[in-house]
Assembly symmetry: C2
Homo-oligomer: 117 residues x 2
């Protein structure tokens, strides 16, 4: 049986930014926590939507058609294929859901390996 | 483009229990908020895992192999096919993710129709 997951406890286990950690699995998707600060790279995922839920802090998702800014308890799903660039002025904690194996940069060449914690 | 979703704002729009509301879509899954209180029915989903994240309150998920109890910021994925019965002593607010069309009771005959809000 899976274990219950306490998101704050999982987030206490690491401090690095832009280093997604897998905390659970759902139908072939990774459920992920990540700490972010600063600007990521512009990218898109041609095969999948991209689910963001802000747990702490504030995240702006820049898109070509306009930006959205999310605070705690706010979520956004970037449709598949839509170019976006996440930006956080302060350290921000996110819950992400994405199909297992999705490269975080949209490109397997530059993607990080996601660790399970 | 989708709209950002503020979970607390969505939860303020209704008061009934066990009446799931769709707030976003992710790769053919419904992203849902629901208010629960009391005991649901024992059921299982043969085709899908069942994702629960507690936003407020406390949820016990009874299973034949043992119970788990979740507070705010805690999540659990009931594996597909596993019988479970959610119970909340106090009013509890949940974020759920499930494939669009999944019957909440595991049985289309008794399932509620999920409204988009």
């Amino acid at each position: 049986m899976p274990e219950p997951v306490n998101l704050a406890q999982k987030l206490s286990l690491f401090s690095e930014h832009w280093s997604p950690k897998i905390v659970a699995a759902y139908n072939g998707n990774d459920v992920i926590v990540v700490k972010v600060k600063g600007e990521f790279v512009w990218h898109s995922h041609p095969e999948t939507d991209d689910f963001f839920l802000v747990l702490k802090g504030r995240l702006t998702i820049r898109m070509r058609e306009g930006d959205v800014t999310l605070g705690p308890g706010e979520l956004y799903v970037v449709p598949k294929g839509v170019e976006h660039c996440p930006v956080a002025e302060e350290e921000t904690h996110l819950l992400l859901i994405e199909p297992a194996g999705t490269p975080n940069t949209g490109d397997p060449e530059t993607a990080v390996v996601k660790e399970k914690i």
